[in-house]
Assembly symmetry: C2
Amino acid sequence: MPETLATHRYLVLAEGHFGPLTSKTANSAVRYLPERVLAVLDSAQAGRTVQDVLGFGGAIPVVGTLEEGLRGGPTALLVGIAPQGGQLPDAWRAVLAAAIAAGLDLVSGLHFHLGDDAELAALAARAGVAIHDLRKPPASLPVSHGRARDVDALTVLTVGTDCNIGKMTSALQVRDALRARGERVGFAATGQTGILIEGWGIAVDAVVADFIAGAAERLVLQAAEGNDIVLVEGQGSLVHPGYSGVTMGLLHGSLPDAMILCGLPSRTSPYGGNGAYSWMRLPSLSDTIRLCEAAVAPLKPSRVIAVSLNTWDLSDAEARDAVARAEDETGLPATDPVRFDPAPLVDAVLAARKS
Amino acid sequence: MPETLATHRYLVLAEGHFGPLTSKTANSAVRYLPERVLAVLDSAQAGRTVQDVLGFGGAIPVVGTLEEGLRGGPTALLVGIAPQGGQLPDAWRAVLAAAIAAGLDLVSGLHFHLGDDAELAALAARAGVAIHDLRKPPASLPVSHGRARDVDALTVLTVGTDCNIGKMTSALQVRDALRARGERVGFAATGQTGILIEGWGIAVDAVVADFIAGAAERLVLQAAEGNDIVLVEGQGSLVHPGYSGVTMGLLHGSLPDAMILCGLPSRTSPYGGNGAYSWMRLPSLSDTIRLCEAAVAPLKPSRVIAVSLNTWDLSDAEARDAVARAEDETGLPATDPVRFDPAPLVDAVLAARKS
């Protein structure tokens, strides 16, 4: 049996960029697939543990060379960084070629599909290894007709004040907590990292623009099969100057019954572009709630039911204070579902199902 | 010199679908490039004139066969229909192949790129003719950084209550009237038909989702060069269940100084999908204005300054009544810029430039 997304053991490539905020895919693999991440490759941090760098992840080693990384017996090299624009940095070609030569599959979430690269594709074919581009959309997608509004399962979408703020992580923390309570929960993965973790999904930011909502519709219908609750991984933000189109299409394609708003208290301007968005201030939590609810209202009434904060860069006292202020401002339950108990989010989801 | 989009004389393929609402690309070619449309091919209406079918277009003949259509000496076959989903109907292959064999270039706005079809590409190469896919996006596009807010020209985007409602036509009518008054006006074409008419542009519904706003940003910067006013062709609607992502990305990428709202008074549910959207009612003009202004406000303050109505299916008295009601409801100047004088829209644009 060939290895798949459900079975691969990974050496994670994060060369020069492994860190709490700079290697989203790598970090999520560590958090949600820890038993299948054997090592992280970043020569700038070699010799440390993942715990040293991220503050979680235990004794998984950071290695400085491919050769060291191969010692644990990985079955695939996972590209653990997703630079804005998604192109393949030239400096990575040598290590990707060496990984192929060592018999590793490649798993990548870059916009640029490794399988479309003539050199890498030829090397992979010769070595008999597979290239799995997580962001490659299905060959044909529908235009959404709004069918997601018909599913019986309660659908909950994570939305945010910004991109790269914790929408996938919030949904996964709620997923795990709901499953621990015995609930039948589907997870609709909409980005490369969610697909890596869940094993299926569609990267809605990589589809042709007319089919964003159609991709979301298809995901919700599929995730609802055999489940009572569907958690939809959010993308971007309705106010992000670069990515708001993806967010809007995902909102209207998934037509959620309820939304969880994700925020990062220390973030004041939109993320990305090396400071290119410093001209703009992010709206408050309550303004963002109004925007999200107003954006979906013409299609379907839907409410934000809870606030999920990302407080990784705050002290414990600051984090507790931020949660209390979010509750005061919005009148909704709030928590940081990674740092604290996700129960306030989980309870809000279960209450929405009953109402 | 090979023929280009600026010089082609067209035989327009609209087989089985030529009509006021069903052949948007064909009809716009007739309206804006009348001297370069030699005939329309639709065997169901052969023998009539374009005027008979559309109510405008004069003596341009509707022909029943390719052979008849060739008599006028066209240089290209223009695919004049854009079915939802954009696939190539099998029934068209024979006529496309025959057109190629007759030495015509192909010009198409389908989502499906004719140039990517192995059979058609091989035939075209053998015949030495070109295939121009209007919807094919540029090879590389940026993520928008909001640079459109910096242009000196006044930027005006047409928005709408729905798709296929007159956003391109409204912008073109205003463009022509402004140019007649001596203004320096750029037109940022964002869809296949606008590109056909203007000769350049990017079909923003055909780009990869992460780059919708980036494509719009690039178009505005380019259209602003040497001009004092930029009219941006709108797409879709912020409430269309299938296409709202495109609309949102276009709004945030173009960051207009002002907007013109387009409506079709007789339309009550979103367009398309053979009635698939009958479950939803379109919002009113004033609710749509609030939605559009709220959606762009976090990035830049922008106001709807006028209303453009499409009254093609109303009597003169009904059309005048619809315009008066739109003015009452919104407190803004309104007109049907095709049926009546576009001056109310033009005056609103010029007033916005001074304010």
